[in-house]
C-alpha cells in the first residue's frame, strides 16, 4: 500500500465523501447526485462497468472506499459526455470519473493490468516527452505494454491496419527517429515542471 494511501485513510477515517470532495477533481459535486440513474443508462460501455456512475456516487457516500478506488469502473469511461449533457442536476460526471481514476492512480490502487489505465499513462508520458504525441511510438508501446510475447502477437494482428495506414501516408516509420516535437522544448518542460510543483503544493495544502 502506498504511503499516500495510508496517510489518506488516517486523515479521512470517518468520511470517504469528504476525502473525495477534498482530493478528487470536481469531487465536490458528488453529494448533488439524486440517484436517478440517467448517467448509468446513458453510458455506451455501461454494461461493462462493475459499478455505474450512479452506484459509484452512492458508494462514495456509503464510505465504500476500497470498492470504489480499486474498481475497474471509471476506467471504462470513453469520454463521450452523454452523462454530462443528460444529468438533470448538471453534475460534471465525466470529469468526476476522470478525477476518481486519477486519484486512484495517485494512491496506487488501480487494478493491475487495467488496459486503459496503462494506455492512458503511456499517452501522457509520450506527449510530455516532446510536447506532441508520437503516434507510432505510442501504438507500439501499447502493443508491447504487457510484455514481448503478447506484443508480437498484437503487432501481427494489427499488421494489416498498419499497412493500410502506411500506404495512405497516415503513419510514418520516420516517427521512430525523433519525430514531431515542439521547438521550445526546454520552455515547454519548464512550464510543465512548474505546473506539477504547483499542483503538488496545492494538493499538500488543501487536499486538491
Amino acid at each position: 500500500m502506498s504511503d499516500l494511501n495510508t496517510a489518506m485513510i488516517e486523515k479521512y477515517r470517518t468520511s470517504f465523501l469528504k476525502e473525495v470532495e477534498a482530493n478528487v477533481e470536481e469531487g465536490e459535486w458528488v453529494k448533488m447526485c439524486m440517484q436517478c440513474g440517467v448517467c448509468s443508462g446513458s453510458c455506451p460501455l455501461g454494461k461493462f462497468w462493475d459499478h455505474p456512475p450512479q452506484e459509484i456516487f452512492m458508494m462514495i457516500r456509503a464510505g465504500k472506499r476500497d470498492e470504489v478506488l480499486s474498481s475497474d469502473a471509471m476506467w471504462m469511461c470513453t469520454s463521450c459526455y452523454n452523462c454530462i449533457v443528460r444529468c438533470p442536476r448538471g453534475l460534471p460526471i465525466t470529469h468526476i470519473m476522470h478525477g476518481l481514476a486519477h486519484y486512484a492512480k495517485r494512491l496506487g490502487l488501480v487494478p493491475q493490468n487495467q488496459p486503459t489505465a496503462k494506455f492512458a499513462q503511456l499517452m501522457w508520458d509520450n506527449l510530455v516527452k516532446k510536447g506532441r504525441v508520437n503516434e507510432l511510438k505510442l501504438g507500439l508501446s501499447l502493443y508491447f505494454m504487457n510484455g514481448f510475447g503478447e506484443g508480437v502477437k498484437t503487432s501481427l494482428k494489427m499488421k494489416d491496419i498498419g499497412l493500410g495506414m502506411l500506404k495512405t501516408g497516415r503513419m510514418s516509420p520516420m516517427e521512430m527517429l525523433g519525430g514531431h516535437a515542439v521547438k521550445d522544448l526546454s520552455g515547454f518542460h519548464k512550464a510543465m515542471k512548474k505546473a506539477q510543483e504547483l499542483e503538488d503544493a496545492r494538493l499538500a495544502k488543501h487536499g486538491k
Binding site: T78, S79, V85, M171, S172, V182, G187, L198, E199
Partner: protein, 299 residues
C-alpha cells in the same frame, strides 16, 4: 466574400505522417475555396486529449491548453482559435472555461507559463471548424461554391461524441444534431436525417485499450448506415473517422459481416464538391477508397 482569418490549432493527429494527415489536406483545400486563412498557432503542443487525466493532474493538463491559447494570443492576436480535431477543440475550450471560473487556477497556470516566457490572458474564443462553416460562413455561401454536386451519393452523417457534447454547435440538440445532414444536402448528396447512430460513441481512445468493447459499438454505427442504404459515412472527428474506417476487417472477422464502407471527413466532401482534384481532397488517404467521390473528382 472577404477573407476570414483564424488562429489554427491542427493537433497531433493532423501532422505529416500522422493518422488524420488526410483531414488537414482536405481542410486546407476547403479553406482555400471558402477564402478562409488559417494561421497556425506557432509551436502548439498536444492538448492531452480525452485520456490525459490518468497521467496528468488538473493543472498540468490545463497548462497544456493554456500554453496553446497563450501562444495564439501572442502571435495571432485578435483571431479566434479554430480546431479541426474534436478532442483538441474540447480540451482547449474546457481549459478556457475552467480558467474563467477559477481565477486561482488561471494565476497558477500563468506562474507555470511564465517559465516559458508566456502570458495567458484567456480572452480568445475557441471554435470548432464546424462552427466556422455553419455560423461564420453559412450554408448559402457554401452552396454557392459547389461546382460538382455530389448527386446520387447517400451519406450517413456520423457526428460522434466530442464535436457534439458537452459543448456542441449552437442551436443543435445533443441527441439529434442536424448540421452535418444539412451540409450533406448543401453539397448535393442525399443525407440520412434518421440515421440512428449519428451520436453513438465509437469508443474513442478505448478503441486502443479495449478493442473488443469498442468494435462492438463501431459495428452498430456501420450496420445502421448500411440499413439506411448509405454509400459512405461522413464525420467531423479524426478519432471517429479512424475507428469507424480501419477496424472493418477485424469486425468482419469477429462478426461474419461484410463491411467495406468508406468513412470520409466533411472537408473531403467539400473539396470534391468544390471541383478540386482527388489529391486536393486527400482521397488517397482513404484506407477504404471512396470510389464514388473519386469518380466525381475525375470528371
Amino acid at each position: 466574400m472577404a477573407k476570414r482569418e483564424y488562429s489554427f490549432y491542427p493537433g497531433c493527429s493532423s501532422q505529416k505522417g500522422a493518422s488524420s494527415s488526410n483531414y488537414l489536406v482536405s481542410v486546407q483545400t476547403m479553406c482555400e475555396e471558402l477564402d478562409i486563412q488559417l494561421n497556425d498557432i506557432p509551436d502548439w503542443n498536444c492538448c492531452s486529449a480525452s485520456v490525459g487525466y490518468a497521467g496528468g493532474g488538473e493543472l498540468p493538463r490545463l497548462v497544456l491548453s493554456g500554453r496553446n491559447i497563450a501562444l495564439s494570443e501572442q502571435h495571432n492576436p485578435g483571431q479566434e482559435i479554430v480546431a479541426t480535431c474534436a478532442a483538441c477543440w474540447l480540451s482547449t475550450r474546457e481549459a478556457k472555461e475552467r480558467f474563467e471560473h477559477d481565477q486561482g487556477l488561471l494565476a497558477e497556470a500563468n506562474q507555470a507559463l511564465a517559465e516559458a516566457g508566456l502570458k495567458l490572458r484567456n480572452e480568445t474564443p475557441i471554435k470548432h471548424m464546424a462552427e466556422v462553416l455553419v455560423e461564420d460562413i453559412g450554408y448559402d455561401a457554401i452552396k454557392a461554391k459547389v461546382k460538382r454536386p455530389l448527386e446520387g451519393i447517400r451519406i450517413a452523417g456520423y457526428v460522434g461524441c466530442q464535436t457534439n457534447r458537452p459543448f456542441g454547435i449552437a442551436g443543435e440538440s445533443f441527441e439529434n444534431p442536424v448540421y452535418l445532414d444539412k451540409l450533406v444536402d448543401t453539397l448535393g448528396a442525399d443525407s440520412i436525417p434518421t440515421y440512428e447512430k449519428k451520436v453513438q460513441c465509437c469508443g474513442g481512445a478505448l478503441a486502443f485499450s479495449e478493442p473488443a468493447k469498442s468494435q462492438e459499438m463501431i459495428k452498430g454505427i456501420i450496420e445502421a448506415a448500411y440499413d439506411h442504404g448509405a454509400d459512405m459515412i461522413v464525420t467531423p472527428c479524426p478519432v471517429c473517422q479512424m475507428n469507424v474506417e480501419v477496424y472493418q476487417d477485424q469486425i468482419n472477422a469477429t462478426y461474419g459481416t461484410k463491411f467495406k464502407i468508406p468513412v470520409v471527413y466533411y472537408s473531403t466532401l467539400m473539396a470534391v464538391a468544390f471541383g478540386r482534384s482527388a489529391k486536393d481532397a486527400a482521397l488517397n488517404g482513404q484506407v477504404i477508397p471512396a470510389k464514388k467521390l473519386e469518380e466525381i473528382a475525375a470528371k
